[in-house]
């Protein structure tokens, strides 16, 4: 069946309530107060939201929910979520630590999301794209079957509709509780990116704090242009494991976005308020030879 019908067939089976991409901007969220992890400054939710969760005093980039991230990236009112109901099962009946089923239920409850990534169609600076954002609150934005599936489908849909992909990424890595099924999502997502790439289509990755493990070692590092937020940790193996296993002394800015830039691994460190405009500029260049598709 053609890819588009395949997506449509899956759409018909949606069971979960769609997630409002603007969630987190509700009045309740505006009233709550937050403490900056960087300098300790207290700010109310409204001030925090208006500043894109960046501390006005020290410019520390605090974590954003996937909904807040999407809202900060796309042209207002253009985001149409896809595959919102997708969520991982508990194929291994994994009970070590907090049982996985409980962890999943808790994460859904707490975030209002069904999985650790939000994906949809939108325009950025008027340019149509498939856009996604990961949410670190959802089991550390780890990649299990559903995250891998949503990423693979995002690239397949973009390939079918000749659109570029823009992903705002954060992740603790492959989701241990799904064992080898999670590890294989690295190959699955990379394969989908490779097809999109071979079709002559563009991909921009925005790496946010923290981007580590199996997500870094798969779709996150296969973009045409890779941006990162100031201070974001970007790496494969975590600093604690490196210290434990090698007794190496870690440089002060180890795995920081700035250090990865200096080592030639990313293209630019961009502060949050400038990311949407930067991505819009890039999308003007990342156009396939045939001009590409448009968002219906």
């Amino acid at each position: 069946m053609p890819v588009r019908d395949w997506f449509k067939a899956r759409d018909d089976r949606r069971r979960y309530a769609p997630v409002n991409a603007a969630q987190g901007r509700s009045e309740a969220a505006r009233g709550a107060w937050h403490k900056c992890d960087g300098c300790g400054r207290i700010m109310y939710g409204g001030e925090r939201a208006d500043n894109l969760c960046v501390c006005p005093q020290c410019e520390h980039h605090m974590a954003m929910s996937a909904g807040e991230r999407i809202a900060s990236l796309v042209d207002p009112g253009t985001f149409q979520e896809i595959d919102e109901g997708l969520t991982s099962r508990d194929p291994l009946q994994f009970t070590a630590g907090t049982p996985y089923a409980e962890k999943l239920a808790g994460a859904r409850e707490r975030t209002g999301l069904n999985e650790a990534i939000l994906v949809g169609k939108a325009t950025i600076g008027g340019a149509p794209a498939i856009v996604g954002a990961m949410d670190f609150r959802f089991i550390g934005a780890s990649m299990g079957s559903a995250v891998g599936e949503k990423v693979a489908r995002a690239f397949e849909l973009a390939t079918a509709e000749r659109l570029p992909v823009v992903l705002a990424i954060a992740s603790g890595g492959a989701r241990m509780q799904e064992g080898m099924l999670s590890l294989m999502q690295m190959a699955k997502t990379s394969a989908a990116v490779a097809r999109h790439d071979a079709a002559g289509l563009g991909y921009v990755a925005v790496l946010t704090h923290p981007t580590t493990g199996g997500v870094t070692a798969s779709f996150a590092t296969l973009a045409d242009v890779t941006l990162a937020e100031p201070g974001a940790r970007v790496g494969f193996t975590g600093p604690r494991i490196i210290e434990q296993t090698t007794s190496e002394k870690l440089p002060k800015d180890f795995q920081s976005a700035e250090s990865m830039l200096a080592h030639g691994m990313i293209d630019e460190v961009v502060s949050r308020d400038a990311i949407a405009a930067r991505v819009a500029s890039l999308l003007r260049y990342l156009v396939p030879r045939d001009g590409g598709g448009s968002v219906a």
């Binding site: 599936e149 080898m180 999502q185 490196i242």
Partner: protein, 320 residues
Amino acid sequence: MKRYVMGFERPLAELESKLDSLKELEVSEEPDLAREIEELTVEVDELRGTLYSALSPWEKVQVSRHPDRPRTQDYVAALFTDVVELRGDRAFRDDPAVLTALATVAGRRVVVLGHRKGKTARENAERNFGMAHPEGLRKARRGMRLADKLGLPIVSFIDTPGASPGVGAEERGQAWAISECLATLSSVRVPVVAVGIGEGGSGGALAIGFGDRLIMLEHAYYSVITPESCASILVRETDRAGEMAASLALTAQDLVDLGLADEIVGEPRGGAHRDPEAAIGDVGRAVVSALDALSEREADALVEERYERLRSIGEFTGVG
């Protein structure tokens, strides 16, 4: 005789040392000795069979790490002829933890990839226990691209605790080296046969460790994370690695049950390290028969099937 004894083998080791001491006695001093030795030999063999037919996942992890277990270089030396090794990533250095070579097996020219663990402390220090640096994976990717260009099948031997952790590896882009291998290996227009011969640790294993067929040795493991690291992260107690090994579904049989591995090659009684020659021969037959089957496929169909194979992996609901 000094043996490397794993915890679960202790009862076996006791019997074996008893057998050793009997063998040291002069037969003339003890008329019934020959018979006793014979009986004890049978007992040892039976106990070994019993132990190894019911290994727990954690015990299999230990067997997969046995220092005498045949390594990539043993398989290559025994099964392949006219081996020409490729060296270096053309950017930084040659990583001895990874093998990339042109080689011939059963009359077929192929590219061989593999993690190269050592057997001695010195070899392991040189080869970083088979843990690849980015330059090692980039060398492997050279092999993949050459295979693609020339139409040579790829045979890959998986045996690593993981990609090398460390400052240099991170600064040179360990994550990028892995993802580039994944993207390339998923799309090469040649047959890819991967074989789990020992440890299959995380992204460092996966970088060269999937394809059109995944063959697993009976006691090899393949896991999203080592049981020790999993225990350290999830329950903050490394001594619960055994429990994690059982939870992670990492054995050859688990992989078959999950639909990820195609075939299990049985190991000689007592593990591949007891009879490396037999184990290597059995792996060789499985590899050649996989290559035979895949060589009939058209390149387009092969790549499409590999993509579908990857695409079908995952357990999710609420679609979506």
